[in-house]
């Protein structure tokens, strides 16, 4: 079976030789090609090549079309990204500097005609051609409720959200949601088949139950309704969200849940059961200092919890560059071993 078929089997609960094995190596591509982060992320060809090489060398199932999360801000005019050769790029210029700037914010009509799309488009077209029929190609979707953090900074966004005028807040969210709907259509058309939908506001650790229901849920619905939830993964930036799995399943019909290592996986698996896919996610920040044996033991623990009853996959967070290669290899070897079905 191809990794894509194995993923489909996990979704439908069909027989498969093993669980799907996801590993998110974003920043590692530059080193793989011997480039600086800045050079690497300047080109869709580099990113595609980096992803394909990393996948081949480590053997995990998926590749990524995401360069870095802050790229979304470039569609709105952000021109300053801070690169670092030992970690992820980050937005260095917030284009919304005052509330007045919200009105001036323009969502490009056709986002695929925007310069910020060009390299992502190239990357996706290479990935589609090379592994589109066989492997999951992941795309990253920043939810409308979270995108403002990249446009104005998280603390300014919290201030507007919690204390600002509601009409202004909604104007910003509408623009972000419109952008997201367009992005969903664009990445799907270009070949992405796993859409990682991200919003820490989709957890009650960020906003509490009341605001989750009155604020986060309606905006999530709006983000996802036009495109549907095919291939969509519910991911909250590694924040825990067990207590909202049920409402999300009932109201958004999302099929795959990326469970934070800070949450109780056993509980999540019990809630999700065979109604969706539970993702067992390793704490990859601890992998920086773990030994390969400790890494293996944690993979085993996750698989022991998740594998019974199928509908399970293994995954990581945004793997920090500081993780020793021996631990990445140990993690994947263990995932293949403990993730195999008899």
């Amino acid at each position: 079976m191809t990794p894509l078929e194995i993923l489909a089997a996990a979704v439908h609960g069909a027989p498969a030789p093993r669980i799907p094995i996801f590993c998110h190596l974003l920043d590692q591509g530059a080193r793989e090609l011997g480039l600086s982060q800045k050079q690497y992320f300047s080109s869709g060809e580099y990113v595609a090549e980096g992803q394909l090489k990393l996948r081949k060398r480590f053997g995990h199932d998926n590749v990524w079309s995401l360069f870095y999360v802050g790229k979304d801000a470039e569609f709105f005019g952000c021109k300053e990204i801070l690169y670092s050769d030992d970690g992820s790029p980050t937005v260095a210029d917030f284009i919304i500097k005052g509330w007045d700037d919200i009105e001036k914010l323009v969502v490009p009509d056709d986002i695929t005609a925007h310069p910020a799309w060009e390299e992502t488009g190239k990357c996706l077209s290479i990935l589609k051609q090379e592994v589109g029929d066989t492997h999951p190609i992941c795309a990253y979707l920043t939810a409308s409720t979270t995108l403002p953090s990249l446009l104005m900074g998280m603390d300014q966004w919290m201030e507007l959200l919690l204390m600002g005028p509601k009409d202004l807040r909604d104007e910003l969210l509408q623009k972000c949601s419109e952008f997201l709907q367009k992005k969903i259509a664009a990445v799907r058309a270009a070949g992405a088949n796993v859409l990682v939908y991200t919003t820490p506001f989709g957890t009650t650790r960020f906003v509490g139950k009341k605001r989750f229901e009155s604020f986060s849920m309606p905006w999530m619905k709006r983000d996802l309704e036009p495109g549907g939830v095919d291939g969509v993964v519910y991911y909250c930036g590694m924040e825990a969200f067990n207590d909202v799995i049920e409402p999300v399943m009932n109201e958004l019909k999302i099929g795959v849940y990326y469970i934070s290592p800070l949450a109780d996986l056993t509980e999540a698996k019990t809630i999700i059961g065979n109604k969706g896919v539970t993702c067992g996610v390793i704490d990859d920040i601890k992998m920086i200092t773990w030994t390969p044996e400790e890494t293996r033991a944690e993979v085993k623990r996750l698989c022991d919890i998740g594998k019974p009853g199928e509908h399970f996959l293994f995954g990581t967070g945004v793997m920090p560059l500081a993780i020793p290669e021996a631990n990445i290899k140990a993690m994947l070897a263990a995932a293949f071993e403990y993730g195999s079905y008899p």
Partner: protein, 225 residues
């Protein structure tokens, strides 16, 4: 009466309702409660109560932390102008985000909690160089340096906390200045603060204020002996 004011104030903060919280304070003052009493007998106990609520209530959330810090800072700042004598400050902290890191929400929440608990806070902003942390700590006679980082490479990198620790050592400042860190990576690996050479860490703003006040106490005790 104070009990019922604290209760009402806390309920407003818990519902993240800033206007209601302000109204309660105004009402209390009309009834003869002094600015000093508002800060020391309402705001600070309210934060302490919030602290235990956050620890015990699984439904406590970031919006509440943010609003606790925000409302408490605003109330305290307003009350300070009405204090009869200048208040006794617990100590001084300089805070910023690590070099290469522009994520300022965590810092803002921590600073808000500290200010409301009568700690003087100097905001060094974002993307702060290691020697700036130390120079400013010396300049403001701070007992604690606080460094916030959202990403692994800024939390553990050579230009972050590790370097600040080295500079403190080189300049013989270690007994006088303590080093505290926080931010997402430290929550995922609770032993990380030690590997980067910090004296303490905290998973949220209210706990941060407590950890920092304790460290200020340590430095003060050392100075006194």
């Amino acid at each position: 009466m104070l009990r019922s004011i604290i209760k009402a104030y806390n309920e407003a903060v818990y519902e993240t309702d800033k206007e209601a919280a302000f109204k309660i304070v105004e009402e209390a003052m009309k009834q003869g409660i002094t600015a000093e009493e508002v800060v020391f007998d309402v705001v600070i106990p309210a934060i302490e109560e919030m602290m235990s609520m956050i620890i015990h209530d699984p439904d406590a959330n970031l919006a509440q932390h943010f609003m606790t810090a925000q409302i408490a800072t605003e109330v305290t700042e307003k009350m300070l102008t009405r204090f009869k004598q200048s208040p006794k400050i617990v100590g001084t902290v300089v805070m910023g985000t690590a070099s290469g890191d522009l994520h300022s929400l965590g810092k803002r929440i921590v600073m808000g909690c500290l200010k409301a608990m009568m700690v003087s806070v100097v905001d060094l902003g974002v993307n702060v160089k290691p020697d700036t942390f130390v120079n400013e700590a010396v300049r403001f006679n701070a007992q604690v340096i606080g460094i916030s980082a959202m990403m692994v490479h800024t939390a553990t990198g050579e230009h972050g906390c590790r370097r600040v620790r080295e500079i403190l050592k080189e300049r013989g400042l270690e007994p006088r200045i303590k080093l505290v860190v926080g931010g997402a990576p430290y929550r995922f690996d609770e032993s990380m603060y030690r590997t980067v050479g910090a004296d303490g860490w905290a998973p949220d703003g209210v706990t941060a204020a407590k950890v920092i006040i304790d460290l200020i106490g340590e430095v003060r005790q050392h100075d006194a002996t």
